[in-house]
Symmetry: C2
């Protein structure tokens, strides 16, 4: 078999603010691979099927030397992210060809030789759910929503929840869990089309934060007992000012600051004025407690159509740069996924 192109997406330069497709990330087709003869060195060859495009990736597009919960991408090397692949060939005793693997640091390239299962888990093919769902509602974002809610929401029927980025893969599940728990749900998103989706998910109050004043909505519809924060910034300030006594703030993300810098939060005195609790959510640290319950619950509800989700699917690695930018700008309608190849 002759060598074929092994396309990759490389981290090419640190963005000044928003990522620039073709400049901060580059779709590279220079590498060749011979699938039949590439050396495995005791490992196995994986064909990438789907890759997830998530907000946190912007945080890894930074210069080396600044520490965070996740290491930076390496300049000149492929991006990494959540993904699913299928094993084509193997020299590894535990990994048979035809098996599917899932991991948080799948390389953004069409084919990759991996040394072992470290950082990977096997997935079984689901007759009803496509692989894209396993990086979305049944993947990291779904786990984040489910595990964060179970661990920190302490939801009581009749309370009021506020969910930002409500049309995203995390927020859309949070809205549905909050409604399942009998809460009044206020949800926001950045377009009227997304707001219609929030309403379809069951949100009692849905609004476009670009055209409607968040403070006015919370003052009218609050106070807020549970705030699921995906955005930070002035919306977090508005939620603090409109929080109920004993409210729980679930700090999941602050995308308002990822590209242009974080705005300072000036009213944290509300934490003691209102006896608030703010809890940071990082899914990797919740899995030990909640993984079994997640698997027993969420995929089944997705199959039965009792949990709704939306995806924005692009095709081919060349789409990665645009997909990253759309997520950072909030232009994606549904979970951003790139289908790299069919099986």
């Amino acid at each position: 078999m002759p060598p074929i192109t092994n396309a990759r997406v490389l981290f090419a330069s640190v963005p000044k603010d928003f990522p620039v497709p073709g400049e901060t990330t580059v779709h590279d087709t220079a590498q060749q691979i011979d699938l039949a003869s590439v050396a495995l060195h005791g490992g196995f060859l994986v064909k990438t099927l789907v890759l997830s495009i998530d907000p946190y990736m912007r945080g890894k597009m930074r210069a080396p030397g600044t520490t965070s919960y996740s290491p930076p991408y390496t300049l000149g090397a492929p991006l990494t992210g959540y993904g699913v692949g299928v094993v084509l060939r193997s020299e590894h005793a535990d990994v048979a060809p035809g098996r599917y693997v899932y991991g948080a640091e799948m390389s953004h390239q069409e084919y990759v030789v991996l040394p072992g299962m470290r950082g990977l888990t096997f997935l079984e093919k689901d007759a009803q759910l496509p692989w894209t769902v396993f990086v979305g509602a049944a993947g990291m974002p779904g786990r984040t929503a489910y595990m964060g809610w179970m661990e920190f929401a302490h939801a009581k029927k009749g309370e009021t929840a506020f969910v930002t980025a409500g049309a995203g893969p995390v927020g859309s599940l949070v809205i549905q869990m909050a409604k399942h728990d009998g809460l009044k749900v206020i949800a926001s998103a950045g377009s009227d089309e997304k707001v219609a989706f929030l309403t379809a998910l069951g949100a009692d109050v849905a609004f476009n934060y670009k055209t409607t004043d968040t403070r006015a909505v919370l003052a009218r519809e609050g106070p807020v007992d549970i705030y699921w924060d995906n955005v930070g910034g002035e919306v977090l300030e508005a939620a603090l000012d409109n929080a109920a006594v004993y409210a729980r703030f679930l700090e999941c993300g602050m995308i308002s600051g990822y590209n242009t810098g974080h705005q300072g939060i000036k009213n944290l005195y509300q934490t003691y004025a209102k006896s608030l609790t703010l809890s940071g959510i990082l899914v990797l640290r919740l899995q030990a407690t909640h993984e079994a319950a997640f698997w027993a619950t969420v995929p089944r509800l997705l199959r039965e159509g009792k949990l709704q989700y939306r995806e924005e699917v692009s095709t081919g690695l060349a789409a990665v740069g645009d997909a990253i930018l759309r997520v950072q700008r909030g232009m994606n309608t549904g979970k951003a996924v790139v289908v790299v190849a069919e099986e």
Copy 2:
């Protein structure tokens, strides 16, 4: 008996930044009272013995119309605060002359007629502890430290705690509780004399934040598992950047912003990066759970000398204005108390 002066401290104007004794508060001697004949209307006459000067009082020195956990002072009326008084005369069936009363809204005046025990509790005279202690280490600040720590610290032996305003009535008890629980304690205060007190309390690392860089200390001596925050602002930012994974932040006060405005906190993303929990402490909301344990523990430890405390005692209502300013500027060495009268 001829009428005598009933001196009062009145809220005279809203401070622009720091309070100005004689301007924002005024010591007023215009009112007269005849102790023998003043009408009680079924209530009782109290002679004020001690009044507490606390940081939160600045928050009440605001214009009407802005809501907070505590209502503003009324312009032209006396200040209120924690205090202890003795009953001189009574028409109230439950309140005998000679009894001692304690309350959070004792009026800043020498004598006051009260209608009933609403907002007050009786205190028994303690042979070993002066009344000043009952507005300090055995009063609201002591309760704040004890109850906040019991509820939110989740201290584990060998962990590291960081305590700001460590020489104050709350911080000094927190340091001692943290040492009792087997923690390494980093503590800061605003003068070398206070730093010596921190060391005497058992702090492992004590520093003057005005002459030593907080970030450098935390980077060297951290990471911090428990941060007791009395100050907010850039010190809170430094603590967030130097927090350990799963650290607990006990948000008790933010005095850095009370007079000149709150600085924005730009690194709250550390909440999810490090799985932090921030809990706001307001003692009034913790008393239902912890009051019995507090009474069973803290006064005894104070009598036995196993809990140390310091007081800065002023004499006479005319000292209130200066005492308030000294607390806001961090100039007080120990719990600020005004002894209004001896029994």
